[in-house]
Symmetry: C2
Subunit: 157 residues, 2 copies
DNA sequence: TGAATATAATTTACATGTAAACTAATTGAG
DNA sequence: CTCAATTAGTTTACATGTAAATTATATTCA
């Protein structure tokens, strides 16, 4: 019924608040967007994008070359994205591709010394930004926030 | 020794989190990514992307044509993105551009009836997904999560 | 063994976000 | 009034995320 539909829309438009679930979802996405944005600026100051930094951080953490898909799975990215990402990192001499000899389908990605220096030099600035972004929350609040977000993600398992 | 946190296991990270702040930030971003991903699939089922849906939802909520930059500001997107977004929506006959006669710099974007139908038809599926994603959290938890995220964003003001 | 599958990456096509430069139109100070 | 500054949008250039198809290699099982 057209009239009823319009009325429903009218009511929806004027509702002072949305459902708690919708409000929570919007809060999660909005907070994430803004934090990513803030952190991303620091990466750009160092000539990296957030994705590029994450690849390098994973490689540093691993302490050894990793297959491309292994990196992709840790980034939770779709497979094709990793190819271009590694392409651009390789172009900047931040990683090296090495074809595996036992299984020639596998491409190992190795971080270079140049990249290690950059990633290391980002540790302090990043710690500072984390302090800037969440320094006003106390330990109890941070733990509760983490708990609630982990619980929220349980629906995705 | 305390068991590794859930996120650490998910990311197969070798090193422990340096700080609660870092863990909280990663939890925020990861949760957002996964929820966006899940919701995005529904939009695609209806021939829309998340960004396109958000533009249409804003226009429906406004109840009147809005200037392009007004839409952009509500989406918290950078200015140039809105042009292409409106281009693609216009190509699908979901919005119409109307140059303002008083101030010819301004472009009003108006939602079409076709688009209104689509957005309306998404209300129920979206409510269902919200239930699927956060239905296992009780009201108290949702309110606390919202409060903590709002507090987290205070540092960005 | 050999065909059917599965796996690791890549390629292609498209939508989007970001930054910087540019155009058109309006405004405001002198 | 006039010209510099501002404002609304667009264009361009690039990095990224998503999906589908493709290539090369490896594995499995009849």
């Amino acid at each position: 019924m057209a009239a009823k539909s319009r009325l429903q829309n009218e009511l929806k438009k004027n509702l002072p608040f949305i459902s708690l679930k919708e409000e929570a979802l919007l809060n999660i996405m909005r907070t994430s967007d803004q934090m990513e944005n803030r952190i991303g600026k620091t990466f750009r100051d160092f000539g990296l994008t957030a994705s590029q930094y994450n690849v390098l951080r994973i490689l540093r953490g691993a302490g050894e070359p990793l297959p491309a898909l292994e990196i992709a799975s840790r980034l939770i990215q779709v497979v094709p994205a990793i190819t271009g990402l590694v392409d651009r990192l390789e172009k900047q001499n931040l990683v090296v591709r090495k074809r595996c000899t036992e299984d020639r389908r596998v491409v190992y990605v190795e971080i270079t010394k140049k990249a290690l220096k950059i990633v290391d030099s980002l540790d302090q600035p990043l710690a500072k930004i984390q302090e800037e972004l969440l320094g006003h929350m106390n330990q109890k609040e941070l733990k509760e926030l983490i708990r609630l977000l982990e619980k929220a993600r349980e629906s995705l398992h």
